[in-house]
């Protein structure tokens, strides 16, 4: 029997789109919290943004279903006005991966921003540089190694996402069955050889990505 290749395609598509979304969301959230003056607000938001990391993915999945489910106000609204169905569609795999990998991106980026010498940012301001330029031309390049390692972690986490995906996207063959779900399904139906093949592919992709990104961040540094 030939192996079903669709989980590979779905996983790659999901992981790629979700890391792009997670990257910008995570960096934006990190910058927002980094620039907050109030310590209380910082602590509260930080806790909120980190929550998906510490919750079991099924709990995160439960919340996603609760919000985006077809009979829920937001889910209903999206279907009625935009004809967008989230639950049990391919989009749901992306949504699950973004929510679960977001805290890793956010925390790494925020940590990296906090390591940047505040005088260097102040120097940019006294030189008249716009906040936009200070962020993209000074803060981001200096924080880059930390931001990139966060992105690597987030990508790997998104690629391996299982629990929340199963809850909100289901396990529909050729549609929402990502590699981790394919491994589970194969094992569940006793096809250990198929599962093994998916595992090898999953390990391979993860390893290549991590090595590539590490190499890239080292290049940048020195």
């Amino acid at each position: 029997m030939t192996m079903d290749l669709s989980p590979i395609i779905i996983s790659l598509k999901t992981a790629t789109l979700s890391i792009i979304i997670t990257f910008f969301l995570g960096v934006a959230a990190a910058q927002f919290v980094f620039r907050l003056k109030s310590k209380t607000m910082k602590t509260i938001l930080d806790g909120l943004f980190t929550l998906p990391l510490v919750l079991p993915p099924t709990v995160a999945g439960f919340f996603l279903l609760y919000i985006f489910g077809m009979r829920r106000p937001i889910g209903k609204f999206l279907i009625e006005y935009f004809a967008v169905k989230i639950a049990f569609s391919w989009g749901a795999t992306v949504l699950a991966a973004v929510v679960i990998s977001f805290p890793l991106m956010y925390r790494s980026a925020r940590g990296a921003f906090e390591q940047v010498n505040p005088d260097v940012l102040s120097a940019g301001r006294t030189l008249g540089m716009s906040e936009w330029n200070i962020f993209w031309k000074v803060q981001m390049p200096i924080a880059w190694p930390g931001v990139i390692s966060g992105a690597v972690l987030a990508f790997a986490r998104g690629l391996g996402e299982f629990g929340a995906t199963a809850m909100i996207a289901g396990n529909i063959r050729g549609k929402t069955r990502t590699l981790p779900l394919a491994v589970y399904s194969a094992v569940a139906s006793g096809k250990m050889d198929d599962a093994g093949q998916y595992v090898v592919i999953l390990v391979g992709i993860s390893f290549i990505v991590v090595v590539c990104m590490n190499y890239f961040s080292m290049e940048k540094k020195g």
């Binding site: 010498n117 005088d119 260097v120 102040s122 120097a123 940019g124 301001r125 006294t126 030189l127 008249g128 540089m129 716009s130 330029n133 031309k137 000074v138 390049p141 200096i142």
Partner: protein, 366 residues
């Protein structure tokens, strides 16, 4: 050219309350670490926001709590030289200077010319493609100065500009900096905890203590007559004793257990709390028969003298410190007497049994 700063800001241990006006020239802010000097600079530059007050530069209001004005640092056009220079580590020297021009709205050609001119002026042309970590502290300082000047500031703030440098470089760079600052011809505030830097570079001095301006005036005058105990310490006065006025022209210095008599023209303030004498102003009286020069002025020698014994000698490269105790044996604090090695040899390297604290060199402090 005028800067007017009247601000208050609550800090962790004390309240910063600075009231100060200046015209052009270089003003030195002298104070110990954590006295609020740097915070004052940051408030002027707009990096920190005061709790209340007003900052005006050249008729432009930079900050005014009452009318809700708080210009961003970008709009203030105040140059800031950071203690560690805060160069952009991922940019070359040239790119750093270009960053200072980013907001100028000048044409590409103009920018190029300005960068070239600054690279030449600050002698960093050959370093244009180097990254900040690869160049020395002095070169970093010049690169940071060039970058600051590129933004065409209306006023300069220098935060401990020499503290990150090796001692041997410091002297040379101080002279260099003077040259650049004299070309600038606008107002400059330099913050420092080094009296030497302030004395050599600044026309006016502000003494800061615990967030407050304690004294301000012409540098020379402040060093001659510091007025307060903190100012005396910061200007390098090694010997300070508690003191009480005991007569119209008499003061008792309790830490040294000595009665000091002043000439008639000296006004001794009644709220005097301390007296001081700089270590090099103490005068040795070796012994009557060998000190022929002082034979005819016996009368004056009798005043303000102290019989002393040596506690310790501390030797520096070019001078000696003799730490002397009053022989009276009470719980007194020692006097530091500074003597150059040449003078030390001239008196035969003999510890004097008596020293004089000449009345004209006693600093009266409140």
């Amino acid at each position: 050219m005028a800067l007017s700063v009247h601000i208050k800001k609550k800090l962790k241990d004390f309240e910063l309350a600075v009231d100060f006006d200046m015209d052009e020239g270089i003003v030195g802010f002298l104070g110990s670490s954590g006295c609020g000097k740097s915070m004052t600079l940051k408030c002027i530059a707009g990096i920190e926001t005061p709790d209340e007050g007003r900052i005006v530069l050249d008729d432009e209001v930079l900050f005014d709590k009452k009318s809700g004005i708080n210009l961003s640092p970008q709009k203030r056009k105040v140059g800031y030289l950071f203690q560690n220079y805060a160069l952009f580590p991922h940019m070359t020297v040239k790119q750093n200077i270009e960053a200072g021009l980013a907001a100028s709205g000048k044409s590409k050609q103009e920018k190029k010319e300005i960068v070239e001119r600054l690279l030449e002026q600050f002698h960093i042309k050959e370093l244009e493609n180097s990254y900040p970590v690869r160049i020395s502290g002095g070169q970093q300082q010049r690169a940071a100065l060039a970058r600051m000047m590129a933004a065409e500031p209306k006023f300069l703030l220098l935060d401990e500009p020499f503290s990150a440098l090796d001692a041997y470089l410091k002297e040379k760079l101080m002279q260099e900096m003077m040259t650049y600052l004299n070309q600038f011809k606008k107002g400059v505030i330099m913050v420092s905890h080094s009296r030497d830097e302030v004395y050599q570079m600044c026309s006016d001095t502000v003494i800061m203590h615990q967030g407050m301006i304690e004294t301000l005036g012409k540098t020379k005058e402040i060093f001659d007559n510091p007025g307060t105990v903190n100012a005396a310490r910061l200007t390098g006065c090694k010997n300070i004793s508690r003191a009480t006025k005991t007569g119209t022209h008499e003061v008792y210095a309790s830490d040294w257990d000595i009665k000091l008599t002043f000439p008639e023209q000296t006004e001794i303030p009644s709220n005097l709390t301390h007296v001081g004498i700089r270590a090099h102003e103490i005068h040795p009286i070796v012994s009557k028969d060998t000190n022929l020069k002082d034979m005819d002025s016996n009368e004056s020698i009798k005043l303000n003298t102290m019989d002393c014994q040596l506690e310790r000698i501390s030797e520096a490269p070019f001078e000696m410190y003799l730490i002397l105790q009053n022989k009276s044996g009470k719980n007194t604090s020692p006097l530091w007497w500074k003597v150059t090695k040449k003078e030390w040899q001239e008196i035969g390297e003999k510890v004097p049994e008596t020293v004089e604290l000449p009345a004209e060199h006693i600093i009266l402090l409140k």
